[in-house]
């Protein structure tokens, strides 16, 4: 009697599981499109950096859909991609609210991350709760990688790698010895600056000043005075917030901080416009470099179709990388099963830009992408990479604001 009852429970459980599996497969088979959900900052402090990213996503989806969508082998058919995008107003709290909504109301198949580590850090909570693959985009602060989370990966290398090529650049070009480093007190910026400090020391440079300043800082005169006292050859300012960078640079000009070179980590269009001719020969970085590969052409095409040139929104290179990761993972997963997408996401091994960049993930979920050095020349970013090809010639700022 006991055995019969046990068998009955087992059979019922198996039938229920099978039924759920069949229902799940049927639902998956009936799905007519691939839904990718995310937020972009269409207002708030990050607008100046990511304004066209909504349009960029739509353009990319249109181009994929024009080619017939993405072929999912296990379903035996191609499906179009559709983005579900909300404005997070540059706020972590609002972003999380929308990621919850996308999981429960819009029922997206995968998430694409928002801009910045500190918004992503909040949004990731939804991926833990709802077990949806999360393709992080512009986020690489270590705080998100301290706890294992199998549902997220980023295409970016750790924040400490952000300016490795800048350090390499000065090592190869020479002419400077000492650096002063300043960062916005924020996830990512602090680690990016600390990383640059470590790389510079490793390459034999001297870091004479390294500090962070609060996010609401509007007067930089004391910091600038301190930096002037140290007489660095190069001044580096790192802030994903354009107003912060503008405030520092304007006051540096006003107070006669005239180093041999100035590096503005995130020299967005807003910064270039606010500083005018004073931005000439300021060093910066972009997530792409000079080249003619199919990836270069595709990246340029989607940016232009979205109404901007890649240099105007230098983080757009990360977006391109993220779209390619999503496309690659979905095709390898061959279905919309979340576990299959998640697994494919982790197994990414994607050569981009003529194989000069291969996106892979390490055991923590970090990727391989970090910026290439650029310089503002003629009011726009020009790539200084690859160095051996001498694409554009670096010019020292030499204190000329």
């Amino acid at each position: 009697m006991e055995a019969n009852r046990g068998q009955f429970i087992l059979m019922t459980a198996l039938s229920f599981s099978l039924g759920m599996l069949l229902v799940g497969s049927a639902v998956e088979a009936q799905q007519k499109e691939i839904l990718i959900g995310g937020t972009t900052s269409q207002s708030g402090r990050f607008l100046g950096i990511v304004k066209p990213f909504r349009k960029l996503a739509e353009v990319w989806a249109q181009r994929v859909n024009k080619r017939g969508g993405l072929y999912l082998s296990r379903l035996g058919k191609s499906l179009p991609i559709r983005f579900v995008l909300y404005d997070d107003q540059s706020s972590p709290r609002i972003a999380l609210k929308f990621y919850e909504r996308m999981a429960t109301v819009d029922k997206v198949n995968a998430f694409i991350g928002p801009f910045s580590s500190f918004i992503t850090n909040a949004a990731l909570q939804a991926t833990v709760t709802h077990k949806i693959p999360f393709f992080m985009s512009e986020a690489n602060d270590s705080i998100m990688f301290q706890k294992p989370n199998k549902w997220r990966t980023t295409g970016l290398a750790p924040a400490q790698w952000e300016y490795k090529r800048v350090a390499e650049f000065y090592q190869r070009t020479g002419g400077v010895k000492t650096f002063a480093l300043l960062a916005w007190d924020n996830l990512h910026d602090k680690q990016a600056m600390e990383g640059l400090g470590d790389w510079l020391r490793k390459f034999g440079f001297e870091v004479v000043y390294q500090n962070v300043a609060p996010k609401d800082t509007r007067d930089f005169s004391s910091i600038i005075l301190k930096i002037k006292q140290k007489k660095p050859d190069v001044v580096f300012v790192e802030a994903i917030s354009p107003p912060w960078t503008i405030g520092f640079l304007k006051q540096a000009r006003e107070l006669g901080l005239n180093p041999k070179d100035v590096i503005a980590g995130h020299a967005s269009l807003a910064v270039i416009k606010a500083m005018g001719k004073s931005m000439e020969n300021v060093m910066s970085g972009m997530y792409s470099f000079a080249g003619e590969t199919p990836d270069h052409k595709e990246y340029l095409a989607i940016c232009r179709a979205a109404g901007f040139e890649p240099w105007q929104f230098s983080e757009s290179g990360i977006r391109y990388n993220t779209y390619r990761r999503i496309e690659d993972a979905l095709q390898r997963a061959g279905s919309l099963d979340k576990e299959a997408i998640r697994q494919a996401m982790w197994e990414t091994n994607l050569p981009l830009f003529g194989g000069k960049m291969v996106v892979k993930h390490d055991a923590r979920g970090y990727g391989t992408l970090y910026p290439w050095p650029t310089q503002i020349q003629g009011g726009k970013h020009v790539s200084l990479w690859p160095l051996d090809k001498g694409v554009n010639v670096h010019r020292f700022k030499n204190g000329k604001w």
Partner: protein, 290 residues
Amino acid sequence: MEPTVLAQLIINGILLGGVYALAAFGLSLIFGVSGVLNLAHGEFLMVSGFIVYLLFDTWGWNPFLLVALVTPLFFLIGYFFEKGLIKPLGFRKEHVRLASAMLVTLGAALIIEDVAAFASKDVQFEKSIDFFLPTWVVGQLYFPTLKLLVFGLVLVLIVGLFLFLKYTYLGLAIRAVTQDRRGALLNGVDILRVNAIAFGIGSLLAAAAGGFEVIHSVVAPNIGLPLTMKYLCIIVMGGLGSFLGVALGGVIIGLGESFVGFYYPAWGQTVAYLLLVVILLVRPKGLFGE
């Protein structure tokens, strides 16, 4: 510390104090006359900077001329702001009126911030004018011209306000209302009109500071409330309603930020609040409070 560094820190602190005092004057005037803590004060500064930026971007005129054109408009904006939102609260019990007015101005601040953020969607979130006045350099000391101009303006304002309050009927009325609202009312002073005029003048001063900010630094929709908090520190520290106290409070906070920022940048923004606590512990009415 090298003498030139010390001198430069003092110069930076005093000039920064002047910048703070310009907008804090307005907040102090409004509080002194109407008893209302206008939490939307920083928003007027932000909106003024926003308008100057848009006009500069459209017409390319000299930004100082634009500041001179835009600032007077804010007298009217402040005047009608008081008439529309604060005056209707006037006949409630005093403590209810004060609490209600704070909530109303806080609500207005949040609405203005959201509207400005929405309006920035098609332009730029952060607004900053590319305009540079060469710095006046004496030996190794730097005197930023724009900050010197603002400091000069603050000095003129102190003298001007002193003369205005002492020698004009409206000035006398304002002083009367500041000292005793009920007494002023019994003596025939139209305190409702005086309140609205105080709001107008206060908003005008905030607008002038906004014009400075967009030229010298940067203006964004989210700067209003943090700035209002800082101005509040200054007027409480100086003694509520005292213009000299505001000027001194501004300079003390400017010097505090200058020195602390030099050694510990991470604490540069906190020092205003620490100084406020210290001064209130020693002198609860503020430096010039009565």
